[in-house]
Symmetry: C2
Subunit: 238 residues, 2 copies
Amino acid sequence: MIDIKTLILVAHPELASSQTQQFLKASAAGLPDVTWHHLDAITTPDVAAERELLVEADRIIFQFPLYWYNVPASLNAWMAAVLTSPFIAGAGQSEQPLAGKTVGVVVNTGMPAKAFQAGGEVGFTLDALLTPLRALAQMAGMKWQPIFAINQFANFRDAEQQKLLVAYQRYLTQPTPDTLSSRLAWFEQRLQALVAKLPANQQQQGQLILSTLQQDQADYADLKATVAMLKEGSDDLG
Amino acid sequence: MIDIKTLILVAHPELASSQTQQFLKASAAGLPDVTWHHLDAITTPDVAAERELLVEADRIIFQFPLYWYNVPASLNAWMAAVLTSPFIAGAGQSEQPLAGKTVGVVVNTGMPAKAFQAGGEVGFTLDALLTPLRALAQMAGMKWQPIFAINQFANFRDAEQQKLLVAYQRYLTQPTPDTLSSRLAWFEQRLQALVAKLPANQQQQGQLILSTLQQDQADYADLKATVAMLKEGSDDLG
């Protein structure tokens, strides 16, 4: 099991009354090595402590609702207080404290996904709107994890909420990039944890499901090797 | 004389100690119909009064230092408090209160201009970084005035400061787009105001300078008409 430490920096001025954020909080609650950190709850940040949280994490998630096509003021204020140029870009020959870590964004909006494109209601993509965060990540030498957008959560039915729960948990804890093999490995790990918690009389059935998934993974690995071999053969002909 | 009312929304948490902002404040001070409005000085915005300021203006300028490649928190907080969806996008069949107005951005940064491009130190243009403001302007039906950037003001010598002063005053008050004829008209208007203030014994010399500029403008208009005629002629041949 790969041990990824994830830090979620949540910026939301009215967290308690946000359906979306409460759903996400509950979804993240059971996960090992995931820290939920609410920035609006901090009046005066302890800069050293905040930086230590960042340095200890492997993955840093900015999570917030889009406010006028931008991050909320509390996230900007936290950045201005906690981040300095040497901490992000390094000073002289010193190392960059956050280099090599992964940075992700979980953003919820009140508009449909199609609004965020040229010709759409907003007319700009979330990638474009959140360019400031991309510039920060680049300056810090961090890897960018594709944005996780939640549009119009209020309209989600139960099945969509269940899908969101799993997708969000994967976004927080699955190794990047999001390939089929890392997805399968993630599900196997989650299933193993579930099976371990089953009562004795259901262990056999749990193990059966687990071994099926493991067989799928082995089949997938075989298939991938075959495709690679065929591709190599056709390259030789070319 | 075209009467343009300009509102400068200044977001800067330490305005008094900012060399750049103090210079800009002095540069804007003498201009007619220009209102300087410091957002950080407002603790709880009077929403109705703030909106009235916006509605009364023909040109709205967001002025701020770039903080981690984004607007300062105080600007975001002001937007969240003052702007609502009906006020920006209109509600149903109602008009958009800000539609047709001009929106500009005066942004100062601590990096050289060349940092703000692909492959540069920041790697993104100011246009890209300030996409949230562009999205807001588009949603409000406002005209976008190209960004006015001031990079590394601390390095400016006297001559550069003088150039900046005039360029900034033009940005605040000159009709858009920034063509040669609107530039000439702006200078004539400024010169007229200056000449009017001269003592009686220098009026004649002032009028002479003014009439030279007016002759230049007339020549320019003639030249433009000639070029248009020639162009029409060559179109007929095509």
